[in-house]
């Protein structure tokens, strides 16, 4: 099976480890992510103004190209897959909106005329987590595990975008299980913690990092209190805030002993014994290698 894959901006810059580990994992699980051609920005923050169609042109353009790509891609289902939760959210919401309002879609398509491509409203948007849950299945993930993550106690962090709003959510907003189930199939321990959807502070990192710091402090403290030694995330912005600001908090003397932040695909790559270079751990702010070495999950090159 192959999946048309929409990367988005972060996956090519700050979150290379997320993209490359995800692609490696997807190949190993026979659900390969194949990058769609000529993609553009997803539109980032979803506008809530109903008539601001300008802000919906970018996502619709992505969807129209994805629609073409899935038709050309052999063995592909009729869906485009994302890794970043923000891209997933924006594309899913806009997709639902234009399906509900054909008049809006017509107006947006008019703007895309020079592209020679219009969107018919015929593609589904899926997050890679949904592919793993619905198409691959947890048992098949477990079958590929050669290096079970024994000793890892993982708090799964969903953030806001994966669970809200209704049009974009990938799991139950109060009791999600998809990340926890993946953690279990990798042989790691699941930490039951209540801060799984607490906001990380999001874009406040640009101008009000004090807000982000207070959110990150709450999240990390609770994770440690429940015994976690690592967090997994599915969003480059969450990852940045949780990762970098822990060091910031340490510098300020507020928190100590930072715990590493992983993309869920990085841990999958380790558990499945895939080459370490896909993880790009050099991009992590808190070095995860000491923990992984201590638990005997990787061998540190001398």
């Amino acid at each position: 099976m192959k999946n048309s894959y929409f990367p988005g901006c972060n996956l090519k810059t700050d979150a290379k480890g997320f993209e490359q580990s995800a692609i490696a994992v997807s190949k190993a699980l026979d659900a390969e992510l194949v990058e769609m051609p000529e993609w553009n920005c997803c539109g980032t923050v979803q506008t809530m103004t109903a008539d601001n169609l300008m802000r919906r042109i970018a996502p619709v353009r992505v969807l129209s190209r994805a629609s073409k790509h899935v038709k050309e891609l052999e063995g592909s289902q009729n869906s485009v897959t994302t890794l970043c939760s923000m891209c997933n959210s924006t594309l899913k919401i806009v997709n639902a909106e234009v399906k509900e309002n054909p008049n809006d879609l017509e107006k947006i398509n008019f703007q895309l005329e020079n592209d020679d491509l219009v969107y018919e409203g015929d593609v589904q948007v899926k997050h890679f987590l949904e592919i793993l849950r619905d198409d691959v299945g947890y048992e098949n993930i477990a079958k590929k595990v050669t290096n079970p993550l024994e000793g890892m106690k993982i708090a799964s962090y969903y953030g806001c975008m994966l669970l809200h709003p209704d049009k974009a959510k990938i799991d139950d907003e109060e009791m999600p299980t998809v990340m926890e189930s993946i953690v279990l199939s990798l042989g790691a321990e699941v930490v039951d913690w209540p801060y799984f959807k607490q906001c990380c502070g999001s874009y406040h990192i640009v101008d009000r990092d004090d807000i982000v710091n207070s959110q990150v402090a709450k999240i990390i403290r609770n994770a440690k209190k429940t015994g976690a030694n690592a967090l997994i995330v599915a969003c480059p912005l969450c990852a940045y805030n949780l990762d970098n600001q822990q060091l910031e908090l340490e510098k300020q003397g507020v928190e100590k002993d930072p715990i590493p932040i992983f993309y869920f695909t990085q841990l999958m790559a380790i558990a499945m014994g895939l080459p370490q270079k896909v993880n790009h751990f050099e991009d992590n702010h808190i070095n995860p290698k000491p923990l992984l070495t201590e638990l005997g999950l990787i061998e540190e090159k001398k």
Partner: protein, 655 residues
């Protein structure tokens, strides 16, 4: 033929959108109309006298009243014409209120429509024939289903009027939810102290037959003559022999959750629901017991001195007949598992109001000390969340559960009485204290006992170490609120109980949009149901507090007595009848009839035997389904004959 037409103004209800004078003038021009008049309130005494006088002086033989719905005043006007010697079934009502004035604003069109309807009724009236009143005998005995406070009160009131009543209860003891409560608002009476005497009265009253641990399986028949099948499950303990010595309990090896204590404490497979239980006898739950088989375990039987334990008991089917039925099957609370935002039952110290009742009760699992379930620590800070699952049309129940403001206030007040240095916080949307002395009770909690009230909803509960972090909003100050609590109590909403749903389907009662049993009229017939002779009391029709439930049970009892006190009662005269010559015996009417009133019988004609339909006059409700379904036009309904209906249609078509 002399017809009188009487048009009602209904104050301004009708006259505002219908020109009644013009309707009267128009009626005068119609055939057979001997009198046509208007009056402000036709149902009032002067209006009725007007009709009576005309019948006498103008020798009318048919009367038409153009007024409100026949559901409102048909009985009133039937009595009026019967008083003057006319057959009550020759009365015709034209609904020009609900079907004209209330639904139109254009007076011209409204008047025109009223005129057309009057005309069609004049045409029908000429063809109406007198009908006989039908009477059936009555069983002088009532059935009460459900023995919470509503059922107990209804049974006591019926028995108190001198009639036999059978009280059926699903669980092992009567008492219902009220037996689980510690104290009651707004007087803080001990619930057991006011309920137990009534329970004992039920056990002692010679007019009451109590069948506990039983369910109503089937109900047939009709008002005055309900045939009921009751399934009594085996108790495995002979009630008369059990001395309640408790010797069997210590030896029983099975430990399960105690439902009476809301699963906060253990019980054995042989147990008594609570010390004041009626019937006063232990019971073995066969689902918990190792096997109801002396070969597997007979420890309880071995130690039982009075030899009260009988493993050979079998389920028993009791067939009986009743004149009237009172349904009092009560409520359940909205499951905490549905409330994901409050932990969905995964946070041990987030409990329901009913669990808190057990915690604070001296007879409860912690003998009245308020200890939290997770670690048994004495609670110092407690948060009550009102409307947990109520008034939330987006995710949960849309309606107000009515009693939660008061019971949360009561629980907070009791907590403050118990833990003087403790803190009790209530998060509420609105405080609703619509009951006698309720507002004063709330003021007392807030001002004297210093219970804290914060207007706003709690968005999330989070386990934070060994405390619970409560995240909410104060909508009066527009500030977010975060505070820690030892215990959080959810005032979960009220939903119809499984028993209510089950009995509604057995009896074929109509349900409202939220699943509660629907009253025949929300204001004037609050205990009557869609089925004559079946009444309802308590929370089966919607959330209610104890005083309201008790008064409703009293009315249900009176209404049941109204029926069982009579030797015979009148049933519908407008029933179906079969023209055997036209009937071809296809049986479509048998399938169509919702009351199983039609059967196929053999009839002899020209020396051959044919199958034809036959209507049971006592069972037929006159709904008309069969008359409409009959392909040969062989079934007609008294009072709604085809020729009458066709005359009406023709009159309307002529306009």
């Amino acid at each position: 033929m002399r017809i009188g037409v009487y048009v009602c103004e209904c104050g301004k209800n009708i006259s505002a959108t219908v020109d009644v004078e013009r309707v009267v003038d128009y009626a005068k021009s119609l055939p057979n109309v001997a009198a046509s008049r208007v009056y402000k309130y036709m149902c009032a005494d002067p209006g009725q006298e007007l009709i009576k006088k005309d019948i006498e002086e103008l020798k009318l033989d048919k009367v038409i009243v153009a007024a409100c719905s026949p559901r409102m005043h048909e009985p009133t006007f039937r009595a009026v014409i019967e008083d003057k010697g006319l057959n009550p079934y020759t009365l015709e009502i034209v609904n020009i209120r609900e079907q004209v004035s209330w639904v139109h604003d254009d007076k011209k069109k409204g008047t025109k429509k009223a005129q057309s309807l009057v005309k069609s009724s004049v045409m029908r009236s000429a063809l109406m024939e007198p009908l006989d009143r039908k009477k059936v005998g009555v069983t002088h005995k009532a059935l009460v289903i459900g023995a919470g406070i509503a059922g107990i009160q209804a049974a006591l009131d019926i028995a108190g009027s001198g009639y036999q009543v059978t009280l059926v209860e699903k669980s092992s003891s009567i008492g219902g939810k009220m037996a689980q409560l510690d104290k009651t608002f707004p007087t803080l009476d001990c619930s057991a102290c006011i309920l137990s005497p009534k329970m004992v009265d039920v056990g002692r009253n010679p007019n009451i037959t109590l069948i506990a641990n039983a369910e109503v399986e089937q109900v047939d028949g009709y008002v005055g003559n309900f045939k009921v099948k009751i399934k009594k499950k085996p108790r495995y303990v002979i009630e008369d022999k059990c001395t309640m010595c408790d010797d069997c309990v210590p030896v029983c090896p099975v430990i399960v959750h105690d439902e009476y204590n809301e699963n906060l404490s253990p019980r054995k497979a042989i147990y008594i629901a609570f010390p004041q239980a009626i019937p006063a006898s232990y019971i073995i739950n066969p689902d918990d017991c190792l096997g109801i088989d002396p070969l597997i375990c007979s420890k309880c039987k071995d130690v039982c001195g009075p030899e009260a334990i009988d493993f050979d008991m079998k389920p028993e089917i009791i067939d009986d007949e009743f004149g009237a039925i009172v349904v009092a099957t009560g409520f359940e609370t909205y499951a905490i598992e549905n409330l994901g935002e409050y932990g969905a039952g995964n946070i041990p110290d987030v409990i329901t109001g009913l669990e808190f009742e057990r915690l604070i009760s001296p007879g409860g699992p912690s003998t009245g000390d308020i200890r939290r379930p997770s670690d048994g620590k004495l609670v110092k800070k407690v948060v009550f969340i009102h409307c947990a699952g109520s008034r939330d049309p987006a995710k949960h129940l849309p309606y107000c559960s009515k009693i939660c403001c008061m019971y949360s206030t009561k629980q907070a007040l009791m907590f403050k009485h118990e833990v003087r240095d403790g803190t009790a916080v209530n998060f509420y949307i609105d405080i609703r204290t619509g009951g006698k002395d309720y507002e004063e009770f709330y003021q007392r909690a807030a001002e004297e006992a210093k219970v804290v009230y914060i207007r706003g909803k709690v968005s999330e509960l989070i386990q934070d170490g060994n405390e619970i972090l409560v995240k909410g909003v104060n909508t009066l100050t527009a500030e977010t609120v975060e505070l820690h609590a030892d215990l959080v109590v959810l005032a979960t909403g009220i939903i119809p109980s499984q028993g209510t749903k089950d009995i509604a389907s057995v009896l074929r009662l109509s349900l409202g949009i939220n699943g509660f049993i629907k009253e025949a009229h929300p204001k004037l017939k609050p205990v009557e149901t869609s089925i004559t002779g079946v009444f309802v009391a308590g929370c089966a029709t919607g959330p209610k507090d104890i005083p309201e439930t008790v008064s409703q049970a009293g009315r249900a009892a009176v209404r049941a007595c109204n029926i069982i006190a009579q030797d015979e009662i009148e049933v519908e005269a407008t029933i179906a009848h079969v023209d055997e010559i036209l009937c071809r015996g296809c049986g479509i009417c048998v399938e169509t009839c919702p009351y199983s009133a039609i059967t196929m019988i053999d009839t002899k004609r020209f020396g051959n035997t044919y199958k034809v339909a036959s209507v049971n006059e006592a069972l037929c409700k006159g709904c008309g389904s069969c008359a409409a379904a009959c392909l040969n036009g062989a079934i007609n309904q008294f009072g709604f004959e085809d020729k009458q209906i066709l005359a009406m249609i023709q009159a309307l078509g002529e306009e």
